[in-house]
Symmetry: C2
Subunit: 229 residues, 2 copies
């Protein structure tokens, strides 16, 4: 598949076009790092923005929920959506109020969800989701029962029409402000995971190593020798 995203009237970045990234790799990376996406839809002119867990497999973005969900029922109609994932990476502190900013990665996808009906695709999508969150876990948990499978709906959205915006780097102060004696730079912002908190039914069960899924953003227990960030 071509790595260049097709630009459409909806996906062309008009403000700060230098921050636009029209690459499929960048789009995938943003959704792969996202656990939550914000789904936008409208009913009779009123917009709704609902946070939901998301995962990517191939060129599709997946979400799931109870079949009784108001949002999912609405998506069943093929309603147009915009789904956005955002990572705040840093606060940019400039010498002037005006040039304060943020470093971030964000992606907006446009399209319409379709429900995953095929049983094999349904179960495989959950296996992928689980393995992304907790590698190796799928083979140990109880698989969905017939009743649970029926109650849980999965929807997918093609990642074909999307826009990506990214800001990196230090402040962009005006030259005449650069000598001003106020601290300038970036406060990095990171999402970190752990240490794991067992529930009462985990007693005596070895703690699995899911750090692979989170790379350097994993905070291990104090007794563990993994490096903390």
């Amino acid at each position: 598949m071509d790595n260049t995203l097709t630009v459409t009237p909806k996906t062309r970045v008009k403000r700060a076009p230098k921050r636009a990234v029209y690459e499929r790799d960048a789009l995938y990376a943003i959704f792969d790092a996202a656990i939550v996406a914000h789904v936008g839809f409208q009913i009779e002119g009123q917009p709704f923005v609902i946070p939901t867990l998301c995962w990517r497999a191939g060129n599709s973005l997946y979400i799931h929920g109870a079949g009784s969900s108001r949002m999912l029922k609405h998506l069943d109609s093929g309603a147009p959506v915009c789904v956005t994932a955002t990572h705040l990476d840093g606060l940019i502190l400039a010498k002037s109020a005006f040039h304060h900013s943020a470093n971030y990665r964000s992606a907006c996808v446009f399209g319409a969800f379709t429900r995953v009906i095929d049983e094999l695709e349904w179960i495989e999508s959950f296996r992928i989701f689980t393995e992304q969150i907790a590698p190796g876990r799928w083979d140990h948990i109880r698989p969905p029962s017939a009743k649970e499978t029926k109650a849980t709906h999965v929807y997918k959205l093609s990642l074909d029409e999307a826009s990506v915006k990214v800001r990196t780097g230090p402040p962009n102060d005006d030259p005449e402000d650069q000598a001003r004696p106020v601290w300038s730079g970036e406060i990095p912002v990171r999402q970190v995971f752990g240490p794991m908190q067992p529930d009462q039914y985990a007693e005596g069960i070895a703690e699995p190593d899911y750090s692979e899924a989170y790379g350097r953003r994993w905070i291990a227990p104090a007794s563990n020798e993994r490096t903390t960030e």
Copy 2:
């Protein structure tokens, strides 16, 4: 002001009503902890969900941007919006695939933005925003010039019609799954800040202490004695 949020057809939580919180304090706390919110609007039936920096003052949520922004121009028309802030607090790993979940706090506000035209309110809103991000900073940075003030538009949204959903606690496994020998519990998720990265114009300037704004989620430099999380 009454701490109980008025329930409307838009804000009544239908799915998992036990996770609904109809308290103004909880709504404010979610936006106070949020740096980015997702603004949803629709143009000719197509939804858009745009991430943007946000801050709260009193009973209003504020956003800002270039006056030339497509989104802000659209908001000028008094278009209905939904603005959502979400904090992912933990991944919930249950014994069954079905009961996997997430801990989170999210708030959706409905209404219409109005532009802040009054000059005193405009500058005061930026002072509040800056001081929330970096306490004490406003008095040291260069204030906005007349040109910058004209180019930067501020919008506010009343926090009157809003819904809040929160999940906390361990997995809710079915009794017949509790003895299953697979680890169960929570992987906490946190947003952390720092250590600060000076730019080239910060040389020789003392690093300010902004940790107050971020509480325990501040990661100090290794040479510093503050506790890291």
